[in-house]
Amino acid sequence: MLFPTVDFAIFFVAVFAVAWLIRPWHLWWRVFLVAASWFFYGFWEPKFVLLLVGSTAANWAMGYDLARMRGPEGLSRGGRWFLGFGVAANLSTLGWFKYYGFFAKELADTFEGLGVGAPLPLMEITLPVAISFFTFHAISYLVDIARGDAEPMAPLDFALYLSFFPHLVAGPIVRVTEFAPQLREPLRERVIDAAPAFQLIFFGLFKKVVISSYLATEIADPVFAAPGTHSSFEVLVGVYAYAIQIYADFSGYTDIAIGCALLLGLRFPQNFDAPYRALSLQDFWRRWHMTLSRWLRDYLYIPLGGNRGTKAFVYRNLALTMVLGGLWHGAAWTFVVWGAIHGFGLVVEREIRERTGIAGGWALGALQWFVTFHVVCLAWVFFRAETFGTAWEILGRLGTAWGEASPAVTPVMLAVIAGSILVQFLPRTMGNRAQAAFSRLAPAAQAATLAVGLVAIDVLGPEGVAPFIYFQF
């Protein structure tokens, strides 16, 4: 069930009504939300609900045992092995579904070069929707318990933590320490922060259905499908368009998720914070997919050694974290290069900062923004291109076809791209004022405002629902 569909609207209204009606009965409220989440997941492929339930049972049991292996000195030696086993079990499951085909093919190619047959059969394995996200939730749960940062949850709470439908498919990646207290807290006030929730859902839909779909169809998809048929200007605009498309698509979807959770009375952490206003790559990663950034920091970068050790060691950790982050996005070398560009960029940026000490000033700020945005776009070329050949062709085409006509680029398209970047520089207080004004309207006026907005999105959007980029991750 995709968010921007009539199916989901009906599902959500029903869940909203029942969840708030039974909210005083704490146990049944949680049972209902778990059941609704499993129904939501089963809508795609019923058999994979078993995988979700299996992952829930196994990780809850491992979390319970890990807590018993903790002492005043921390986790026992056996506990550390057990934690390693738990993390490996989760990663193996993810690896089987997500990376088997990639590694079997790479092995087959290598062995073919040696004149030997493929060691692993080439099989088609269906990737269950959301497996990356619930695996990340499960790993963070186990590690947080092992570190003593979190206590084991009740089985029902853990089932809800792992499968709660708003974050199930594409995040945000919520930590157990953020989620568990909200389930334990008795309901003190039946109050919903409706205005920000509606704003998140409305602008999420607008970004996802209108902006992302328009730029994908009109320029990004054609340019990346056949760069050789486009002028340099079209290719440049196509790359910028993809940068906006993926931001609008992904941030739009998680905004809807955060808004839906808020309407159900549960708060999620923010996942995007105007990433294209970033003045450095470090700044970009504090604003882009923020819950993945902190996951990578806490469960990969710090265990690798983090900022401790020699400069070379720290830089290695940084680069390795980004490369593995790239590989998480997909089983392809182009994703590895995407991560490597960010990793290398972060290292270079640190080095420059340490050696020069960057001062302020608007001119320098503008230069920093320009360089950051274009490094991010360069990395997106590899992220989007299906092959290295296409990525190189895109980059090559940027310098070799400036004299050609650019009929695919329109003034509206340029305005959408420029507007999508400029809006990220607006102060957040504007949104707050709009929310306060919306809150003061009578219910009928609020309903009419939302209805007109929904119809406007439907008119401006394409026929049907465009595929959601982050499903594949």
Binding site: A194, A225, L263, P443, V452
Partner: protein, 357 residues
């Protein structure tokens, strides 16, 4: 944790709403949105495959649509749609009567029915007479006067079309254009009117070569001009579908124009594969009656040695590659490239760029 979303007034007081009030707002918003949008929701429901689910949703939206029209609530959206210049449906293009062959027309395609295709689908095309076809269907291009190649059709034509666009542009003597419409086909012109759209294309600045691919969305209920609805498997279904295929083929006829009709590949689902094989027979038989159509059968490109489906298939150089999408229907890039190479060969043969086998 960020306090994202807590609304306060200027004095920092929380501006929340009770669940009851929020429910009224959500339900009210959806109700108003439905009333503003009901005729379009009804249209959308009517475009779904014929069956109980379609009937249910049409029945749901019909009264809302009636209220919407009666109270002129549908006007704002209609104005917005007009202002944006969006296509709002309208009448479906009427295909010419089938069998549009002119007296004296040759009746066999030079490459229409191949032995491989017959084997792959397991059906035999209708035998046809064999008068002499024109020497060359389309002119031989050069860099100064390239052939204009248009490729389009349903979602199956997207990846294949993208590969063909790449190969066409690399040829140096052809220029490409592509239009693929997801969920479209020939069964439901009320969803997307391909005959009408193609008629518009050839009426204007027409291409030299049209590469079309339909069928993956066509195994659904079909409505005859007389209003009868047939489901796939009914004899009436095949008759009506054949009439449309023949009509589109006749519509595209023009001296000096080549039309490549691409068949569907094998699918993972045996039942779906059988349906596609039946459609391929129709395409193949109708192509064989028309010299200006060259049927290209891509089915054999995507089967294993024993004729079954596999996502991993050997490429032309023998290297095994992932050719199919996880949905078991669509092609991925390598599959598109493989199919496009066969189509390129067909175009090059018909344009006299390479000899015919």
């Amino acid at each position: 944790m960020a306090q994202e979303g807590r609304t306060t007034d200027g004095s920092g007081n929380r501006l929340g709403a009770t669940p009851g009030r929020v429910f009224v707002v959500i339900a009210g918003a959806l109700l108003i949105a439905v009333l503003l949008n009901a005729p379009w929701l009804e249209d959308e429901a009517e475009r779904q495959p014929f069956g109980k689910e379609r009937d249910f949703w049409v029945a749901v939206w019909k009264p809302f649509a009636a209220v919407s029209r009666a109270l002129y609530l549908d006007r704002p959206r209609a104005w917005a749609t007009d202002a944006l210049g969006h296509d709002d449906g309208g009448d479906v293009f009427e295909l010419p009567a089938s069998g549009g062959l002119e007296p004296g027309d040759p009746t066999v395609s030079p490459g229409g029915a191949t032995k491989t295709a017959t084997r792959s689908t397991g059906k035999t095309p209708t035998p046809t007479a064999t008068p002499t076809p024109p020497k060359q269907l389309v002119r031989t291009p050069d860099a100064a006067s390239p052939l204009r190649v248009w490729v389009g059709g349903d979602s199956m034509s997207k990846i294949l079309g993208e590969a063909l666009v790449r190969q066409v542009s690399e040829s140096g003597v052809m220029t490409p254009a592509q239009e693929s419409q997801l969920s479209s086909g020939l069964t439901r012109p009320d969803f997307f009117d391909w005959p009408g759209h193609l008629n518009g294309l050839i009426s204007g600045d027409a291409a030299d070569v049209y590469v079309v691919m339909f069928g993956a969305n066509d195994a659904q209920g079909i409505k005859t001009p007389g209003g009868e609805i047939f489901q796939p498997g009914d004899a009436g279904w095949a008759t009506e579908y054949r009439r449309r295929v023949a009509g589109v083929m006749d519509l595209l006829k023009q001296d000096g124009r080549l039309v490549i009709w691409v068949g569907q590949p094998i699918m993972r689902s045996a039942e779906f594969s059988e349906r596609m094989a039946e459609l391929n027979v129709i395409y193949q038989e109708e192509a064989a009656k028309r010299y200006w159509i060259r049927y290209v059968d891509i089915w054999p490109l995507f089967v294993t040695a024993n004729g079954s489906y596999d996502a991993y298939i050997a490429d032309d150089d023998g290297e095994v590659k992932l050719m199919r999408h996880p949905d078991g229907v669509h092609l991925v890039r390598e599959g598109g490239e493989k199919a496009a190479r066969l189509i390129m060969t067909a175009i090059q043969e018909e344009a006299g760029l390479i000899p015919k086998p």
